[in-house]
Symmetry: C2
Subunit: 335 residues, 2 copies
DNA sequence: ATGAAAGCGCTAACAT
DNA sequence: ATGTTAGCGCTTTCAT
């Protein structure tokens, strides 16, 4: 039913080579031939079978994005950034949830060997450093957002330490002296870097760092985070500010604070991280560190495509600037 | 560098046919040959080049999911459901944002003709009925969640009318008599069906339907929805309950009500739709209609794979049950 | 149970 | 500028 390039060639009275040239916009085709071919394509309602092209060119025209879960507005926005660039450059994007499972991850990396994808963007705290380094050593791979500096693939992310400093200094400048942190899991590079930035900033500001005011909510799960936040706010003495490594945690802090009858920001100020939609929907809206999500994705994609096209080029890592969006969870009053 | 099936054949002293049989778990291979082949695969670190396989089998092993935007927890969860089934059945999933642009949509449908995808799941209010019907007439396509009954492709969704009835009856049973609706855009099938269900339920309950209390927020955008909700709550007389067709709208109503100093649910009760994460993070948490998002995706995927494998089979549409999750935005008190 | 060989649709090297 | 042809890696039919 579907026409092939051979039939187009026959129909136009030209060779398959010429048809192929027209399809690939190659030079060295006379205007007349070009038009003849285009007409035949039209009349036969021909569409090239890319499976043939792919085999011949030994490329899939696809890249794979690995995320712990697509169902997270941060990741999905980064993916959108990836897609924006990929589409322009004629690549399609596969998205795979790894559910942070290394077996899944290993399996997806196989798609590179099977030539089903030309490159890989990992939005994923890579814990099995060496593993991935070996499997993917000779393939185009870029780390995005959640990078591990020990892994040998280039990355694009934000400067967590200075972003954290900005957030913490904001709290300090609002006169807060009893500042807590709600972190995720120190196995993640960003968690380590943000905690480091947090502690350093407090020290520089002459504010004591209380170990019992640095809490961890291992899973990014709302109810779990509410429990941890409640704990943080339960003691005789409790913090007057909480820096959270995610907006979900910040929303959890708001709920916990409310349940204990604390006012925000009067009694406790709250800062989130990521600037996902939720941060503007809570009451009060959350002051948060805005990550340039779309740009993270698009830069990672550009980097990857460069790696695919010119594997010999040495790529340098990229840290994008983040900025603080001040809302009522720290500012108050103007609600 | 990468070994081919020919090299494996040579190395094992068998033919490519036999190697292929082993790879495809075909019968008629002696245990001895099988082991010889497997050993060679191991030793040569061989991985089949799927581009060759794809061309020969004339299939891509991929399906495409079209969504207005991936950056929406409802869609991304449905996609997760699709992926769960696809992975088990050996298919990969491409995701494309159409941004509700019909030109983009048309372009993506081309992937079917190019044989880059074997089938299509559309999570998308299809407005250009005929168009898609023509382009995709002879390809495996399934509508999911946002279906148009006039389009000739099978669909899986929820029964919007009865789901709406359930939500509205909940408000009625709580003694509400002045019930408003915050809808999206009547160009969407679900918007029409839900409004119909809403009006019918009120009529059956003997409650007058006030046209000026049915409002529309064309874009699902938080700030815009807050403005509409504020309008709804501004009059001399205002509703004592609002039924929203999305949780985002419900969150907007909460914000608008708060700003006007109204208590929820005492002064105004609020019901959302979808049961996305946001609905449990607001204050108060939102009573909402839970759509079986994962199941919507997985059933749509099953349906599509059936269509791919057995195009001759006539498929019937599927409506999954939704259920009401009652939280404090209508129940109150037990916060 | 195994092998030989054709061929999927396309591109690109080479020849003219 | 155009055509001829080999061949990308695999599956599958047909012999044996």
């Amino acid at each position: 039913m579907a026409a092939t390039i051979t039939e187009v060639a026959k129909h136009s009275g030209l060779s398959v080579a010429t048809v192929s040239r027209v399809l690939n916009h190659s030079a060295n085709v006379s205007e007349e031939s070009r038009l003849r071919v285009l007409r035949s394509i039209e009349e036969l309602d021909y569409s090239p079978n890319m499976l043939g092209s792919n085999l011949r060119k030994m490329r899939s025209g696809q890249i794979l994005v690995l995320v712990p879960t697509i169902n997270n507005p941060f990741y999905s926005t980064v993916i959108e950034g990836v897609q924006n660039v990929a589409q322009i450059r004629g690549y399609r994007v596969l998205v795979a949830n790894t559910y942070s499972d290394s077996e899944q991850l290993r399996q997806y990396v196989q798609l590179l060997r099977q030539r089903l994808v030309d490159g890989l963007i990992i939005l994923h705290p890579v814990m099995e450093t060496l593993e991935l380094g070996n499997i993917g050593r000779h393939y185009p791979i870029v780390q995005c957002s959640e990078f591990d500096t020990r892994v040998k693939h280039p990355y694009v992310g934000i400067d967590d330490r200075s972003a954290t400093k900005m957030a913490a200094m904001h709290l300090v400048s609002m006169g807060r002296k009893k500042i807590a942190m709600l972190n995720s899991d120190l196995r993640f590079g960003y968690a380590r870097r943000r905690q480091e930035g947090f502690e350093r900033t407090l020290e520089e500001a002459g504010i004591p760092v209380r170990r019992d005011w640095i809490k961890y909510a291992i899973e990014i799960h709302f109810d779990r985070a509410v429990a941890v936040a409640t704990e943080l706010l339960s003691g005789e003495e409790y913090p007057d500010a909480i820096f959270c490594v995610s907006d979900v945690y910040a929303a959890a802090c708001i709920k916990a604070a409310r349940q204990r009858g604390l006012r925000i920001p009067e009694d406790v100020a709250i800062v989130g991280f990521d600037n996902i939609d939720i941060s503007m929907m809570t009451d009060p809206p959350i002051t948060t560190v805005n990550q340039p999500m779309l740009q993270l994705g698009s830069e990672a994609c550009k980097m990857l495509l460069t790696r695919i096209d010119q594997p010999e080029i040495e790529l340098s890592n990229m840290l994008l600037p983040a900025d603080l969006i001040v809302r009522q969870s720290t500012l108050g009053h103007n609600y």
